[in-house]
């Protein structure tokens, strides 16, 4: 079986060539397969978020290549990368990055605005997702009126609204309470069962325990790949 995501010798340096140069990710190679539950595991500052940003096409690497469904996306234009973010990859940010002042359903349906989806359809799609994630009674609440766990579920719904095949979540347990972690794991498991590929970065042992494939990062370098019991 061919990997849907293949990373080859990937590096990302900030302030390259300057005295304050930071090598956030250094010479990483890995593969993720269809419908896999992959976890990037490591302590803070190990380069997990940077690597996820590169994989999620939110940033461009300094060196190396990323193949998504067999195509090298490191040379893609801005429009092509937007298409990937719109159709193939859904991203859940560590700090959720919801728009303040917009309701939950408006946040969820925001990616559909430039696609010309009518308001009623956008509302229905957002409502359906939010209900599925247990937020059916929070449709009109703005992010400020929601708890951390609820905000995260809104962010997940937004990432899923375009039916992406890959869901990327950056440190999903870092900004939510313990009760919400269980619910999050259920959601991620459910999505995997639906056939989605899940790539999560975390330093949380609970997330680590669910991994089918675990990539351990230390100081920007890949220190080990292990396959979990679910594999």
């Amino acid at each position: 079986m061919e990997a849907i995501l293949r990373v080859e010798n990937l590096s990302k340096w900030y302030n390259a060539g300057r005295p304050d140069e930071v090598r956030a990710v250094e010479d990483i190679s890995l593969e993720v397969y269809e419908n896999q539950y992959a976890v990037l595991y490591g302590p803070s500052g190990s380069g997990k978020t940077t690597l996820l940003s590169l994989i999620g096409t939110l940033d461009r690497p300094t060196q190396g290549r990323i193949f998504l469904y067999g195509r090298d996306i490191t040379q893609f234009s801005d429009i092509e990368l937007s298409r990937i973010r719109r159709q193939t990859v859904g991203f859940v940010f560590q700090s959720f990055n919801l728009f303040a002042g917009l309701s939950a359903w408006e946040n969820v349906s925001y990616p559909l605005i430039p696609m010309g989806v009518p308001t009623t359809e956008r509302f229905e799609r957002a409502k359906s997702l939010l209900e599925r994630l247990g937020l059916g009674d929070r449709l009109d609440h703005s992010p400020e009126e929601l708890s951390g766990g609820e905000q995260q579920r809104v962010a997940i719904a937004r990432a899923l609204v375009n039916h992406p095949r890959i869901l990327i979540a950056d440190e999903p347990t870092s900004n939510i309470d313990t009760d919400s972690v269980g619910s999050l794991l259920e959601i991620l498991t459910g999505l995997k069962e639906e056939g989605k590929t899940i790539i999560v970065s975390s330093h949380d042992p609970v997330i680590k325990s669910r991994a089918e494939v675990l990539f351990t990062l230390v100081r920007g370098r890949l220190k080990g790949i292990s396959h979990g019991k679910n594999e």
Partner: protein, 391 residues
């Protein structure tokens, strides 16, 4: 336009509305800045247009031709001997003399107009008092009457000809700009006052119908008995005068608009940039929008709509504010900057006229200002990777 494109535009428009409401503080300040810039522009244009319109009405209601004698290439007084000769021309219905001059009423420069009795009697409805009938009787404009507290029945004389005494029989009630500083009298009194007996500054020629003017002009020209010893006639027709008035207003208006736009654009840009209140779209939001699949062009489209909505709000507010000032408060205190010889509180009715072109011009100006502030900044940010913008 296919359906998805229409829907995309509609969606972007609604998103732009939502974003303006979400960032209401910033939207309010930017709109306020634009109104501050647009309000004087709209007011100035409206007053200028009002003046032009009044001038055109005056020309339209006036004579078809104004004939004077050519003196050193300029208009000179014309002999009243021409009146009977010109009256007999084909297509001419009436020829009437008019004296127009200027003099000082104490320290105030006023216009003096001398008309024939039948022309004066036509002003009956516009006069508080009565029309001059006897020699030395005059009508005064409201501006002079108010300034010097002159009432009907008061006698006076003027420095230009102290031997000639006048008596006020009426005040012109219509307080338009043209009649404010005006003294109207009989033609013979004006002749006496300016010491031009047997002469008139102009002969006003009225023709029979629309088809007559060109024919009449040609006949007037041919009937000119001017030789080497006698000055030629100078003939100005209504259309030529109207053209000159329009050109004059357009020229002045054009220069004003260009200078104002340059100054206003620089001022507002400087303010928006230095204060940080411009439509500088927040980096983080651009980063998030890109991260969830928005393309740069779509973001710029949405920001463009924000600019358009803000500009529409600003120009509408500026027009309403300007209307309230010009129609309700008679241009206090701004009229003095645009109309000569008008004080802080205008004594005369300040003419103003609002036409769609001024609204469109203001809208275009506001749109350019907001676009240059918002679109360029957003485009530059959108060139960077989303992760960098959200960091």
């Amino acid at each position: 336009m296919d359906l998805p494109r229409t829907l995309i535009i509609k969606n972007l428009l609604f998103a732009a509305c939502g974003d303006l409401i979400r960032h209401r503080g910033r939207s309010f300040v930017v709109t306020l800045c634009l109104v501050a810039i647009l309000f004087p522009l709209v007011t100035a244009l409206a007053i200028s247009e009002g003046l032009r319109f009044q001038a055109e009405i005056s020309i339209g209601e006036g004579a078809d031709f104004y004939v004077s004698e050519d003196r050193y290439g300029g208009n000179g007084p014309i002999s009243l001997d021409h009146q009977s000769r010109l009256s007999g021309l084909q297509g001419v219905s009436r020829v009437t003399p008019r004296v127009v001059g200027r003099t000082y009423f104490l320290d105030r420069l006023i216009a003096v107009v001398g008309l024939e009795p039948e022309a004066l009697s036509g002003l009956k409805t516009l006069v508080q008092g009565r029309i001059p009938e006897a020699p030395g009787e005059v009508l005064l404009g409201q501006g002079i009457a108010r300034a010097f507290k002159i009432q009907v029945g008061m006698p006076f004389s003027l420095g230009a000809n102290p031997h000639k005494t006048f008596k006020v029989t009426g005040i012109l009630s219509h307080s338009c700009l043209w009649s404010s500083d005006l003294m109207l009298m009989s033609h013979s009194d004006a002749n006496e006052f300016f010491r031009i007996r047997g002469l008139s500054t102009q002969l006003l020629i009225y023709t029979l119908s629309d088809s007559s003017p060109l024919l009449a002009k040609s006949l007037i020209g041919r009937s000119d008995p001017g030789g080497s010893q006698v000055p030629h006639l100078r003939i100005e027709d209504r259309y030529h005068t109207k053209e000159r008035v329009q050109a004059g207003f357009s020229h002045k208006g054009g220069i004003f608009i260009i200078l104002y736009i340059i100054v206003a654009t620089l001022a507002i840009q400087a303010f928006l940039i230095t204060s940080g209140f411009g439509l500088r779209v927040m980096e983080r939001e651009i980063g998030v929008m890109k991260a969830i699949g928005w393309r740069t062009s779509e973001m710029l489209g949405e920001i463009g709509m924000e600019c358009l909505l803000i500009s529409l709000t600003a120009i509408s507010s500026a027009i309403l504010l300007s209307m309230a000032l010009t129609k309700g408060l008679n241009g206090i205190p701004i009229a003095q900057f645009f109309v000569a010889e008008v004080g802080l509180v205008p004594e005369v009715e300040i003419p103003s006229r609002y036409i769609p072109f001024h609204g469109l011009l203001g809208l275009a100006l506001a749109f350019c200002i907001t676009l240059s502030g918002g679109l360029w900044s957003a485009w530059r940010k959108a060139q960077r990777p989303p992760a960098e913008l959200m960091r």
